[in-house]
């Protein structure tokens, strides 16, 4: 598989994608919260689509493109979103943020008309125990208006 554009080999096909990312590759941005698909803190992109890496086996990602939160830095929407999250002080403990960034960046990069409702739907698979979502959502909306995607 490719992770953030770099070819990766030597992993166990029966391991969780999450464990390959964190332990085999040492990319610690992706978090494990629940391990059962509820919280979304382990979200990564698999061929551009958000998935919970705790529920994907590494073998299922073979030959495919995986993008983790670290890989978003090199994409314009991801970089802008990071800035806006900081400007809006949208983080408290920060544990959910990598997953939120992955889901929100996927939404920004393929949606023409980003609205509050569309953002809330896009991050509905990501639980945040701290912020109450308001600042998260406005950070995403501001990042969208920077890209011209905000209606």
């Amino acid at each position: 598989m490719n992770v953030n554009g770099t070819a990766v080999t030597g992993y166990d096909a029966g391991a969780r994608l999450l464990d390959v990312i964190r332990e085999h590759l040492g990319l610690r941005g992706t978090k494990e919260g629940c391990g059962v698909g509820e919280c979304g803190s382990c979200t990564v992109l698999l061929d551009g689509e958000p998935v919970c890496s705790c529920l994907v086996l590494a073998g299922q990602a073979e030959g495919r493109e995986v993008t983790t939160v670290e890989g978003l830095a090199s994409c314009p929407a991801g970089a802008r979103l990071r800035e806006q999250l900081v400007d809006h002080q949208a983080l408290q403990c920060g544990y959910c943020i990598p997953g939120v960034m992955v889901s929100a960046t996927a939404h920004l990069s393929r949606t023409e008309e980003v609205t509050e409702e569309s953002v809330r739907t896009a991050i509905s698979g990501n639980l945040c125990r701290c912020t109450g979502y308001t600042k998260l959502v406005s950070a995403v909306l501001t990042a969208a208006s920077d890209t011209g995607a905000h209606s």
Partner: protein, 297 residues
């Protein structure tokens, strides 16, 4: 938690998959993994072998068979694929509407149609749809391929008619005429949670648009298997399509029996059933009267 150790198999053809399932002891199919992986991670399941069907040729896709008037959906077709498919939105909009209630983007991007049916959760949306639709499921093994009517598929809590060496390969959904009415209604504590109760409704008017030619109503969340509300269907079929009729039909849901649990007592589930069936019938009737093209999202 990490899953327990298992042997991972990654076959490319249906034939290889069926051989693995018939030869290996203690093997489990893994499709989208959105129900099985949580069980592995929680160590609620410890199969010796996992047979991954994600790369098996010919198991995913949507095919239209006009002479037979059915749409065939491959077992490994992703839920998100169904949700976004423009032809299904037009010709079988109950399916995408139901799927929009399943989990969230992450789970729908991976979860499959066959996985949901094979898992047979007591309140799974696709189970309600397959029941109302009178779908036929095709199960293959090294012995044979057999067709299972949805009505005969559930065998108990999370238990289906599939044997351990069988692979669900596709389901056939009989088509309804263009412009038919449909509705999927559910009540869940939060959007994306499993439903407490959900209702799937299909409805066709006669040419005068005044009476109902036929309708189907199925409920999940009342017990381990979906329940067809046949009494309501009989009451409505051939009758005048007015609100009184819909209300009386929905009220029949109260006579069903439900299994209560910590999440909701039986009485409450039946009250939900009546309300959801009433809403579903009304919405289906409105849509049959004024057909519009649903949006794909």
């Amino acid at each position: 938690m990490k899953p327990p150790p298992f042997h991972y198999h990654d076959p490319r053809t249906v034939e290889d998959t069926l051989h693995l399932l018939s030869e290996l002891d203690d093997a489990k199919v893994i499709a989208g993994g959105q129900s099985l992986m949580p069980m592995l991670n929680m160590r609620l399941a410890q199969p010796g072998h996992l047979v991954d069907i994600n790369r098996v040729d010919g198991l995913a896709g949507i095919g239209w068979y006009e002479p037979e008037q059915v749409v065939r959906i491959g077992a490994a077709t992703r839920q998100r694929t169904i949700e976004k498919d423009p032809d299904l939105a037009r010709r079988y909009p109950l399916l995408p509407e139901a799927i929009s209630h399943i989990g969230h983007f992450q789970t729908r991007n991976r979860g499959t149609v066959g996985g949901s049916l094979a898992h047979l959760d007591a309140s799974a949306e696709l189970v309600a749809v397959a029941s109302a639709a009178e779908a036929t499921l095709y199960a293959a093994s090294t012995r044979a391929v057999r067709a299972i009517p949805m009505a005969d598929f559930p065998r108990g809590h999370l238990t289906t008619d599939l044997t351990s060496d069988e692979l669900l390969v596709a389901i056939d959904v009989p088509l309804w005429p263009d412009g038919h009415g449909y509705a999927f209604e559910e009540f869940a504590r939060r959007h994306g949670d499993f439903a407490l109760v959900a209702a799937a409704v299909l409805l066709e008017l006669d040419t005068t648009h005044r009476s109902i030619r036929r309708c189907r109503v199925s409920l999940v969340g009342l017990g381990p298997a979906p329940i067809r509300l046949t009494k309501a269907e009989e009451l409505l079929n051939g009758g005048v399509a007015d609100d009184d009729a819909l209300r009386s039909a929905a009220a029949l849901a109260r006579n069903l029996s439900a299994v209560g649990d910590d999440a909701a007592p039986a009485e409450y589930r039946l009250a939900l059933a009546e309300t959801l069936v009433r809403r579903g019938l009304r919405r289906a009737l409105r849509r049959a009267t004024q057909p519009t093209t649903p949006e794909v999202n």
